[in-house]
């Protein structure tokens, strides 16, 4: 009898969790997103070098139009790869645990993630338009962090710590303009990998 009551309680707990949080998010997608971001940063650094720009010399730099277009394409390619691996590992995990993916909770989480990201995206396009390139890296980190905190209500709360990390990094980078690539590599690369490993171990 006691056994049954214990099982009832754990059943209740798991049904509440399953239905109100998006728990198919895999830590592996964080690790892969981070690896893609690091690879992209190294590629961008090489690209600067090939264009005769020494990134760490501390001097004000002038970027050609072609170079900026190429950098934007690298960033978009990383985004697509990171999102793709996120979706891939999520579907894999949900199959493994027999969890429904496209639920109300998923939709709510995506909406909460998308609103700050969309505003951040428009903000960055405005910065590109006004040629305020140095501010782009801090702004992407800040809005991404806000988006994660916002979405944290509907998934593992650990994602909020990642969001806080991104925001702190974004705030610091506001005062070290011109080192956007370094902050990007830390924020989108190293923080993602750390987060991914922690979550993967915790919810395996």
């Amino acid at each position: 009898m006691d056994q049954k009551h214990q099982e009832d309680l754990s059943h209740i707990r798991s049904m509440m969790e399953r239905s109100s949080r998006f728990i198919s998010l895999s830590g592996l997608s964080g690790v892969f997103a981070g690896l893609f971001a690091l690879a992209g940063s190294i590629y961008a650094y090489q690209l600067f070098k090939n264009n005769g720009i020494e990134y760490f010399d501390g001097r004000q730099k002038m970027y050609s139009y072609d170079l900026i277009i190429e950098l934007v394409f690298i960033a978009l390619a990383i985004l697509v790869l990171a999102l793709g691996s996120g979706i891939f590992f999520t579907l894999k995990k949900s199959k493994k645990f027999d969890l429904p993916v496209w639920t109300n909770t998923t939709k709510k989480m995506l909406l909460n993630l998308a609103i700050p990201l969309f505003v951040g995206g428009v903000f960055c396009m405005a910065l590109l338009y006004h040629q305020l390139f140095a501010l782009i890296a801090p702004v992407t980190l800040l809005f991404y962090g806000l988006a994660l905190i916002n979405a944290g209500k509907y998934t593992f709360s650990d994602i909020r710590y990642l969001g806080v990390g991104e925001i702190i990094l974004g705030c610091i980078s506001l005062f070290y303009l011109g080192f956007g690539l370094v902050f990007w590599a830390i924020g989108f690369g190293i923080l993602h990998i750390l987060y991914g490993i922690i979550v993967f171990k915790k919810y395996k």
Binding site: D2, H5, Q6, D8, L9, H11, I12, R13, M15, M16, R18, S19, S20, D98, P100, T103, N104, T105
Partner: protein, 97 residues
Amino acid sequence: MGIIDKLNKDFESRVRLGIMSVLMVNDWIDFTEMKSLLNITDGNLASHSSSLEKSGYIEVKKEFVGKKPKTSYRVTNGGRTAFVSHLNSLEKLIKSK
């Protein structure tokens, strides 16, 4: 055995317990989503949800989305109170052992 009497017979089945748990932390949930969350068959969900409705614990809404009928569930205030007191007696039972 005073405490045992307080356990709600309506929540004895796992399926009903599951339906109530899901509805406690969500607003309207439709039939298909509930079915996949609980991993049960159509008939199973239909019979348990209608008995919960009869007891006044949940509210059922039927509407048409395009040409498809859609059924959604929501917990009532009475259902919320009943479920919380069921949870409390479950907890007490386990603690008293």
